[in-house]
C-alpha cells in the first residue's frame, strides 16, 4: 500500500517536472530575443535600409513594409474566398459536397508550407518570369484559407437557425439575410479567425523563398520581389557576420511582438464582440 502511494506521488511529480521543463525552451528563446533584440533596436532600425556588413545604422524598413504588403495581398486573396467557402459548408452542412470540402480543407491545412511555395512558383512566378510580392502574398493567402474557412464555419454553426428564419419571415431575401443578419452575428468569430490566420502566416518563410524571394531595397511594386521579416531573419542569421546576427535578433523581436499582439487582439475581439443570442 505504502509503495503504491509513493509511486503515485512520484508519478505526479514527474508529470509536473516534465511539464514545467517543456516551457524552458520558450523562456530561453524569449529571453534571448528580448535581450538581444531590444539591444539592436532603435529608431534607425525601423526607418533605414539594410547596410552592408561592417557598417552600422542599418535597418529593416524594407522588410517591415514587405511583410505588410504581403499580408495585405494574402488578405485580399483569402478573406472573401475563405468566408464564402466557410459559409457554404455551414449552409449546406448535410450535403456530400460540403463533407468533401471540409475534408479538403483539413488536408489543405496540413500541406507543408514549402509545397505551397512550389505551387505558387509554378502558378505565378513561372508565367510572369519573375519573383514578386504578388506571388508571395498569394502563397501566404493559400495558407490562410483553411483557417478562415474553418473558423467561419465553426462560428456560423453556432448561430441559431431561428435567426435566419426570422429574417426570411420578414420577407428579406436570402442574400440580405446572410449579409445583414447571419454574418454580422458571427462577426467576432470570423474576424478573430482572420486575425489568427494572419498571425500564423506572418512568420512564414518557406513559402516565400521562391515567391517573394527577398529584396534589400524598398519596393512598393507588387510585381517585384519584396523582403519580409522572416526572410530577412533567415538570410541574416545564415550569414557569418555578428552585426547581421544582431539585426536578425532585432527583427525577431519585432516579428514576435507583432505576432503576440495579434494573438492578444484576437482574444479581445472574440470576447468583446461576442454576440449574445
Amino acid at each position: 500500500m505504502q509503495r503504491r502511494i509513493i509511486k503515485d506521488k512520484l508519478f505526479e511529480i514527474i508529470i509536473i517536472i516534465l511539464a514545467m521543463v517543456s516551457t524552458l525552451p520558450l523562456i530561453l528563446i524569449l529571453f534571448q530575443i528580448v535581450k538581444k533584440g531590444i539591444a539592436s533596436i532603435n529608431w534607425s532600425f525601423f526607418v533605414n535600409l539594410p547596410q552592408p556588413p561592417g557598417e552600422t545604422g542599418g535597418g529593416v524598413s524594407n522588410a517591415i513594409l514587405g511583410t505588410f504588403i504581403l499580408i495585405v495581398i494574402a488578405g485580399v486573396f483569402s478573406i472573401l474566398l475563405g468566408v464564402l467557402g466557410g459559409t457554404f459548408i455551414s449552409e449546406y452542412k448535410d450535403k456530400k459536397i460540403s463533407e468533401l470540402i471540409r475534408l479538403c480543407v483539413n488536408i489543405f491545412q496540413g500541406i507543408p508550407s514549402i509545397v505551397i511555395g512550389i505551387i505558387v512558383y509554378i502558378w505565378i512566378v513561372m508565367p510572369l518570369h519573375r519573383f514578386s510580392a504578388l506571388s508571395g502574398g498569394i502563397a501566404l493567402g493559400i495558407m490562410m484559407l483553411p483557417l478562415i474557412v474553418k473558423s467561419t464555419e465553426e462560428t456560423l454553426r453556432l448561430i441559431p437557425s431561428s435567426l435566419k428564419e426570422a429574417s426570411l419571415a420578414l420577407g428579406a431575401s436570402y442574400t440580405t439575410t446572410m449579409l445583414r443578419v447571419i454574418l454580422p452575428a458571427g462577426i467576432n468569430g470570423i474576424l478573430s479567425g482572420i486575425l489568427i490566420s494572419v498571425s500564423r502566416v506572418a512568420g512564414e518563410t518557406a513559402p516565400l523563398l521562391f515567391t517573394a524571394f527577398g529584396n534589400p531595397f524598398m519596393n512598393f511594386n507588387i510585381f517585384k520581389p519584396v523582403d519580409s521579416l522572416p526572410l530577412l531573419i533567415f538570410n541574416y542569421s545564415m550569414s557569418p557576420y555578428p552585426e547581421w546576427h544582431s539585426i536578425a535578433w532585432g527583427a525577431s523581436f519585432v516579428l514576435i511582438s507583432f505576432i503576440i499582439i495579434l494573438n492578444i487582439l484576437t482574444k479581445m475581439v472574440s470576447r468583446k464582440w461576442k454576440t449574445v443570442f
Partner: protein, 280 residues
Amino acid sequence: MLFGAGILLLLLLTGIFFTLLIGSIPAIKASGIKFLSGTSWNPVTGVYGAVPFVIGTLLTSFLALFISLPFSFSISLFLGEYFKKGALAEFLNYATDILASIPSVIYGFWGLLFLVPIVRKFELSFHILPYGVGIFTASLILAVMIIPYTSYLAKEVILLVPQDIKEAAYSLGATRSEVIRKVIVPYSRSGIFAGILLSLGRALGETMAVTMVIGNSNLIPGSIFSPGNTMASVIANEFTEATNDVHLSALIELGLLLFIITGIINFIGNIIIKKLSIKG
C-alpha cells in the same frame, strides 16, 4: 456565389495535386522508379535518388516525436487531469500557445546560435565528430516545435473522459496514477494517437528550422549526429538554384512525395478526430 467559393476550394486542392504531378513528369521520365530507390542525389551528374532525404525526413521526425512525447504527454496530463485551473495551468496554457506561434525561422535562428554550440560540446565530450549541426540538432528543435500540437490534442481528449468512469475506478481504490494508466489513457488512446499523427505531419513538412540546423548534406546520414537533409530542406536549398529542368522537376517530385505522405497522415488523423468529435 457560395457554391462557387466551395467549388473553388475543391479546385484549389485538386489543382495543387495535379500541378505537382505534372511538374514531376520530367523527373519521373528521367529517373523513374530509381527516384524512390536511389541512394545518391547529384544534380551535376543528373542522378536523383531521394532515399537520403526520405531517411533524413523520417529520422528527424520520429526522433523528434520520441523526444517530445514524454513532455507533451506530461503537459496534457497536467492540464487535462491534475491542474485544470490555477495560475500554473494558466501559465502553461499561455506558454504552449506562444510556443505554437513562434515562427519556425526563429526556432532555426535560436537553434543555430544556442543549440548548435551546446550539441557541439556534447559531441566533443563523447568523441563524436563535432559538427554541431545535424539530424540530432534538427530533431531537438522539431521536438520543441511539435510539443504544443501533441499536447493540445491529447489534453482535449483527456478532458473528454467522463467523470463517472474515473470515479468508478477511484471507488475501487485505485490511485490517481493508476486511474491515469488504466482508465484515462486507454479511454483517450485514439485521440492521443491522432494528435501524434498530426504532429508527425507537421514535423515531416517542417522546413525552415530544419534547414538551418541540419547541416545540408546529400549523403545518407551515418548516425543521428551526422549532417543530413530532409525532403523539405533540400527543396528549400536547391529550388532557386536548380540547374536544369530535370533538377527542378526532381525537386517538385520531392514536393509531391511530401504532399502525398502528409496528406495521408492528415487524412487519417482527421478521420479519427472527427469520430471523436473534438475541435482540431
